[in-house]
């Protein structure tokens, strides 16, 4: 066995490939020579399956794409179908959707910080992140009955109204959040080892990031305030005041900072939405059998992982003729070899973690 040009297979069963991703890594002792991601180990044929299901039936399957942020997929899909069918969503439903989606973003980022820290060796932070996340899962459980894949949206609105008890619960969870984030930040922000492991690691210039189609927090960490909630506001996002956090670092540390700020911004949006929650219906009148006239539509939303898009082509029946998902993780993952160039073997796990990929979304 040669020590130079050692070819390593990370995955599909490896503790830090976040599921069943496989990386073919060539290392020269500890320095990375080349790296090639191999995906498809979780390819479930979702797009083919969608073609045989009616529009409402597809909704629960979208939960299983980005399963750490299931609501974000529901949201993107619902908006795309509504755009295609020309359904007007009541204002209250739009607000409730924003609340749910932003809570999901918080929960997704909390899980992310846990995974990222765990990959770098700070095991405790994984547990902290997951414990903090439980508060938000409780809210989803109270709202729709599920913890992870909750099917929290319907075409035309949301399945349930927000009642006062739940609103109080959301406020309580948000009140505890700043303290919890600070706790994690005290552990990490000024930690020398954490900084060594993240600063300057996984650098990608802004131009490269755009060329590789990077979206989401990774792109914002490169200094580009690219956020679909601001760029092309949907579901009343224009009503809320929030910042799009960016840094110019464009390394793992920058991505960490951006996500931690995004948690705070999401909390800000939820608070505003709760304060100004309009009265009215929570779901529009949608025919039981939804037949959508022939047409095609492409709509993107800002999911926790990046820009999530749905392309739907209808043919006048109650099932889509073709539906394609633009998965942010899939596109973000392409830039992994670029980010790893010249790096050290241990960097791979940190960089991969900073991309925040979810295999369910990559492989569909």
């Amino acid at each position: 066995m040669s020590f130079k040009d050692l070819e390593l297979n990370m995955g599909p069963q490896h503790p830090s490939t976040h599921g069943v991703l496989r990386l073919k890594v060539k290392v020269d002792n500890e320095v990375i020579h080349s790296i090639e991601p191999v995906v498809g180990y979780l390819h479930r044929g979702m797009e083919k399956l969608w073609e045989s299901l009616t529009y409402p039936q597809i909704m629960p399957l979208t939960d299983r794409l980005d399963y750490i942020a299931a609501v974000a997929n529901n949201f993107g899909y619902a908006l795309a179908v509504e755009k295609l069918a020309g359904i007007e969503v009541p204002k209250r439903a739009q607000y409730i959707r924003v609340i749910l989606a932003e809570l999901m973003r918080i929960s997704s980022h909390l899980a992310w910080i846990g995974f990222q820290a765990n990959d770098i060796g700070a095991v405790s932070v994984l547990l902290y992140g997951f414990e903090d996340r439980e508060d938000f899962l409780d809210i989803f459980e109270a709202y729709a009955g599920g913890r992870l894949t909750i099917n929290a949206m319907r075409i035309g609105g949301v399945p349930f109204d927000l009642d006062a008890a739940l609103i109080a619960r959301i406020r309580a969870a948000l009140a505890g959040l700043p303290h919890r984030i600070r706790e994690i930040e005290t552990l990490l922000n000024e930690n020398r080892i954490w900084k060594h492991r993240t600063q300057g690691v996984g650098f990608l210039s802004a131009a490269e990031a755009v060329d590789y189609g990077l979206t989401g927090p990774c792109l914002r960490a490169a200094g580009i305030p690219w956020d679909m909630r601001k760029d092309i506001p949907y579901s009343s996002y224009e009503d809320f005041e929030f910042d799009v956090p960016t840094t110019d670092r464009s390394d793992v540390y920058g991505r960490y900072l951006v996500r931690m700020q995004e948690i705070r911004q999401s909390a800000r949006i939820v608070t505003q939405a709760l304060d100004r929650l309009p009265e009215g219906e929570h779901i529009a009148k949608v025919p039981r059998v939804l037949k959508i006239p022939a047409g095609e539509v492409f709509h993107t939303t800002e999911a926790p992982k990046g820009e999530l898009g749905f392309y739907i082509k209808s043919n006048g029946t109650d099932k889509p003729e073709r539906m394609k998902m633009k998965s942010p993780s899939f596109i973000n993952l392409q830039s992994l070899p670029l980010m790893c160039r010249g790096g050290i073997f241990s960097d791979i796990v940190g960089i991969l973690g900073s991309l925040d990929i979810v295999l369910g979304e990559i492989d569909k």
Binding site: L8, P15, N118, I120, G121, V123, L127, I193, R197
Partner: protein, 345 residues
């Protein structure tokens, strides 16, 4: 009571001590495994094992029984001889080192003087350090003989890590030896008693550098690169199962107990009670020295766990930088300072 026969003195007592030296580290390991799992759990806001025995104290026993009854796998591609030798070597060297670790001053029972060590040598410290360094061969053999890539990388990391961190360990041990004028562990403790000051308080830099290097030598967080789970799966013992894996596992903990013992003996007065010079605290002398010794070891074992629960893992290049840029220069300067101060005063 009639005079005890020479058979008792010359055969049974040494035999008993040998058995004890096998069991003492193992008991410490069991306690340590339980302690680690419980303390890490508490740090992480969990409960930790609490189902078997009182507060889960039997958990390590259940683990041990289970793991010893597991299938022993030697994969086809492995170098069978080295693969089998490696865990034994690691275990053997760790346990052998304990022979030279004294637990306290001799106890007088009637006319017989019971020494609390199995073997005492004028070069006991060297022997312990040597044995502790030999255990890395087990790691290297294990990693290489597995004929698999992750273990190999783990072994490579381990070699470099131990090579580098032996240097600050040697330099800091020298300062202690310099003061105590002995490399006999019993004499070093006695010198601290005579000098009325623990060397850790006299030379804090030595103590800290030794402790950090000790963590690195035992491959524990944040220096657990040879078995970094998120990178190398399980590092050098990825291919080991059952009993042999248990050997690696136990040896790692035994090694931690050993390093903690060394820190206590070299820098924190071994079995001496604290505040020896304060008359009002003289009651502390009533507590047997062995308990003081255990308490101090437990403190350092606890530190191990605490550090593991808090810090991320170093990257390989930073690990090396830490040694070459900080620990080695620091221990060199420290050594010179100690020499100068000793002769200037």
């Amino acid at each position: 009571m009639s005079a005890p026969s020479p058979f008792l003195f010359e055969f049974l007592i040494p035999l008993g001590k040998i058995v004890a030296v096998l069991f003492y580290p193992l008991v410490m390991v069991i306690v340590m495994i339980w302690l680690e799992r419980r303390v890490v759990a508490l740090i992480q806001g969990r409960l930790g094992p609490n189902r078997v025995g009182f507060e889960g104290i039997l958990q390590p026993i259940a683990d041990a029984v289970k793991i010893m009854l597991k299938e022993d796998i030697v994969q086809r591609e492995a170098d069978t001889f080295l693969f089998n030798v490696a865990p034994a070597l690691v275990m053997f060297s760790s346990l052998l080192a304990f022979c030279f670790v004294p637990l306290g001053e001799p106890i007088r029972i009637g006319t017989y003087e019971l020494t609390l060590w199995v073997a005492r040598s004028p070069v006991g410290l060297l022997f312990v350090l040597g044995m502790s360094a030999i255990s890395v061969f087990g790691v290297i053999f294990g990693g290489w003989a597995s004929n698999s890539k992750y273990p190999l990388m783990g072994a490579l990391r381990s070699v470099i890590q131990v090579l580098i961190y032996e240097i600050p360990i040697g330099l800091t041990v020298l300062t202690v030896v310099f003061f105590a004028r002995s490399i006999d562990l019993v004499e070093i403790v006695r010198a601290q008693q005579a000098g009325k000051v623990w060397y850790g308080l006299l030379m804090p830099i030595s103590a800290v550098v030794f402790w950090i290097s000790g963590i690195a030598e035992t491959n524990r967080a944040p220096f657990d690169l040879p078995e970094a789970e998120s990178e190398l799966v399980a590092g050098y013992h990825t291919e080991y199962s059952g009993f042999k894996f248990a050997f690696f596992y136990i040896a790692e903990y035994a090694h931690m107990v050993l390093v903690s013992s060394l820190v206590v003996l070299l820098f924190f007065g071994g079995w001496l009670p604290p505040f020896a010079s304060v008359p009002t605290l003289a009651f502390l002398h009533k507590v047997p020295g062995f308990l003081w010794y255990l308490a101090k070891i437990m403190f350092f074992l606890y530190l191990y766990v605490w550090i593991r629960g808090t810090l991320p893992r170093y990257r390989f290049d930073e690990l090396i930088k830490l040694a070459w840029k900080w620990l080695i220069p620091l221990s060199l300067v420290n050594f010179l300072a100690v020499v100068v101060l000793k002769y200037a005063l």
